[in-house]
Symmetry: C2
Subunit: 460 residues, 2 copies
């Protein structure tokens, strides 16, 4: 009898695992339980759908459901929600339109993803207030934007939009909504936006957002979302002021969907995500977890971390798929590399950037920030790139970097990410033989300049 | 009495060494002997001067001569040519406008650079025929271009130009001269252009050159450069045809200026460049060499190599400057990373790319070529990137890569370069946590895709 692999969740991690397992061992029974209708979609593309760069939500789908079913032989069941796991009986209780049934498994992969944090704000349920994670939410936001633009509701100031939370999604949505002609205000509780990118890099982005007509309200806690007679959102209230707004986008974080795992008695990490070993195995040897619901191991800190990003979900899903099909592959450590576009800026980070982050991992961080030209000084069209780089005083080890600039940031960060994987010292980074041609870089690449400045500070 | 460091050559390697040595130990006597008038200039920028992107040759100067003399306290002597070295007496014989004198040294750095190879072609001395290395040559070429454009000579087809040799400079000059409105023909003796980039990448550039109106003549040896009554170049003759041309740019390679070193009895490497140890020291313990005249150590092959590039000259000069001032720093190995712009293409390479190159270093190469999108599939404006990647069958070690595409190539190559420095396997490269955002990359970066395809071939 063939073995049955059950996968809960049909996005990046789940479908990567299903495809890989089936490719390695076509005799496997692979069942995917997806509670929604969408599978294998790129949530990262949603801001560009809202912006209008992408015509339809379908464009964000990497592989259509039909392909998984017919070409890849995967038993993909959409609108099937896993309600509970019984690890002793090795079954999943599933609810579908036809009722509830028990699905047995030999091996189980939990790939339930994450969900947008809903802060305990008065007015969160008002019409015009959105959190932003699912395809459905993306569709609803774009529809609402169209409605605001046509201004058929007679709101006092409908075309002002509040983005609450200055994370990746908040910044990307500020760009998207501005491009749609809306006036955007960005609210951030902390002293700078983009927490994982460190203060220096965030400052550059904040200034750029302001230049682009997006007021950035730092150290500002939104108190309530306010309506009037319309029953829809009409204003945002902070401790200082009230701003008329026809729409609010709340993006204050992502919570791992680890409830199923918790109720099944699996070990949960300190981050709230499902604890896994280097092969993605949970505390139950027959249950694995991958993607935004699971923890990963950080190559620099050596500790577990919850960094919900697309590549990790795809890779961990894929590698667990291989393991489940009998070819064990470690999921692989992360270094927390991320990039985003903020209007005309490229912004990126990798490793441990902020001093506090490095201290928590037991390092004695030294941080330096440099500005360097993006091209040879004489080559037209260049601009200034800012790099913040962190190293460990005791060992000289490179710990991380964040950068921002108008060009050459999104790929340049990978030089640092690769050096982190290799556990290079700052001195070794400075000695790298990197590419140089006047249109693309000065002879000393900005990464080398940053490494040199940080290296001097470390050996002093 | 203070020690005297003498440096022969006032470009990247020489001036970097002089500046660094003097900064570490201001009491040093640092004498730089430069036979020309230009110092510290970026020869890499010359094609863009010819193209018209850069207004004046002075713009290519990184640091003016006056700054070295007054601000950095360097005894910089332009129009002073070193004629010979006497290692026993520790003196250099120098010729200047005032005659010849003997310059004593405690430590000597030879940074004499390279010169364009002059092939034994009939007609090399004709007016309108140029090799291309010095600032003077850059100025002369641009002047001649202006003359051709004004067409005041009444040549039959003056506005056709031949570029002989399909290396970096040849390709960059094809772009520059085309931008000036000249019709360019590119002649290459070998079966593909850009030898160090491998055939697959070269093919993409050749096709792009053709698309841009530059006929590429492969396997074509130019036989002679022909004149008529004018005494200037009028045509190029190959074994097949004669093409009317008002100008020829001959770029068939760079020879290290190692004559001084040879005559001084220093050890010369198999490449013809000066042999050095890991600190840049030659076979004479008081004499060092750096830049285009010297060999370096290749981190992948473990062998010596002559790869004359700007960053190496700057870094090796700088580190030798530190060593000479009493703070020893190794010059650092190279991996042969290079990039260039060819019209709308970015082209790059690192490590050992072509199978023959890898075999010569004792590897058993496996080579795979992949095409992958430069951005997320749904994000507008993306294009196709081609990557050729090489690994060793026995060890799984990553050996090198070359790539070409319309965006994201020049910095992406540095991920591979960094992995080479770290001696990663192809499998380790595939596991890197690289940056992903839809505007800049698909979730699986093209480098990861190439590593996966090559990795599968290696483990088969």
């Amino acid at each position: 009898m063939s073995r049955t692999i059950v996968i809960i969740g049909g996005d990046a991690a789940g479908m990567s695992a299903a495809s890989k397992a089936k490719r390695i061992d076509p005799n496997l029974e692979v069942v995917v339980l997806e509670r929604g209708e969408w599978v294998s979609y790129a949530a990262c593309g949603l801001p560009y759908y809202v912006k209008g760069d992408i015509a339809s939500l379908e464009d964000l789908v990497a592989v259509p459901a039909g392909t998984f079913r017919t070409k890849r032989g995967i038993d993909l069941r959409t609108s099937h929600e896993a309600e509970s796991i019984d690890p002793a009986a090795k079954t999943v209780s599933v609810r579908s339109a036809d009722g509830t049934y028990s699905q047995p498994y030999d091996k189980l992969l939990i790939a339930t993803g994450g969900r947008a944090v809903r802060p305990p704000l008065e007015g969160m349920d008002l019409e015009g207030v959105f959190t932003f994670q699912s395809m459905e939410a993306g569709g609803a936001v774009r529809e609402y934007v169209e409605r605001l633009k046509s201004n058929r509701d007679g709101n006092s100031n409908p075309q002002t939009t509040a983005v609450i939370g200055g994370g990746y999604i908040g910044v990307e949505m500020a760009e998207a909504l501005s491009a749609q002609g809306l006036k955007v205000h960005l609210f951030e509780m902390a002293s700078h936006i983009l927490a994982p990118f460190g203060q220096e890099t965030a400052r550059m982005v904040e200034a750029h957002l302001q230049d682009q007509g997006v007021p950035v309200h730092l150290n500002t806690r939104v108190q309530s979302l306010v309506t009037g007679d319309s029953g829809r959102l009409e204003a945002i209230e902070t401790h200082e002021e009230s701003i008329a707004a026809g729409m609010a986008l709340v993006g204050v974080g992502l919570t791992p969907n680890s409830d199923l795992a918790t109720r099944a008695g699996l070990q949960i990490g300190t981050s709230g995500a499902i604890a896994t070993d280097e092969y993605g195995q949970t505390s139950d040897p027959d249950i694995y977890a991958a993607g935004d619901c699971a923890e990963a191991r950080h190559a620099v800190s050596g500790q577990t971390a919850h960094v919900p990003l697309g590549l990790t979900a795809n890779r961990h899903g894929r590698n667990i798929g291989s393991t489940l099909a009998g070819k064990p592959v470690p999921t692989g450590p992360i270094v927390g590399t991320a990039t985003l576009k903020a209007f005309d800026l490229e912004v990126a980070r990798t490793g441990l950037v902020a001093p506090r982050e490095a201290e928590k991992a037991g390092f004695d961080p030294v941080v330096k920030t440099v500005s360097a030209p993006s091209r040879a000084h004489y080559y037209p069209g260049g601009s200034t790139l800012q790099i913040q780089m962190t190293g460990d005083r005791r060992s000289g080890q490179l710990l991380g970097a964040a950068m921002a600039g108008r060009e050459g940031v999104a790929h340049r960060i990978n030089t640092v990410a690769t050096a982190l994987h290799a556990r290079m010292t700052v001195e070794q980074l400075e000695m790298l033989d990197l590419a140089y041609a006047p249109p693309f870089s000065p002879v000393w690449d900005p990464v080398l300049v940053a490494a040199r400045v940080l290296g001097s500070a470390l050996t002093r």
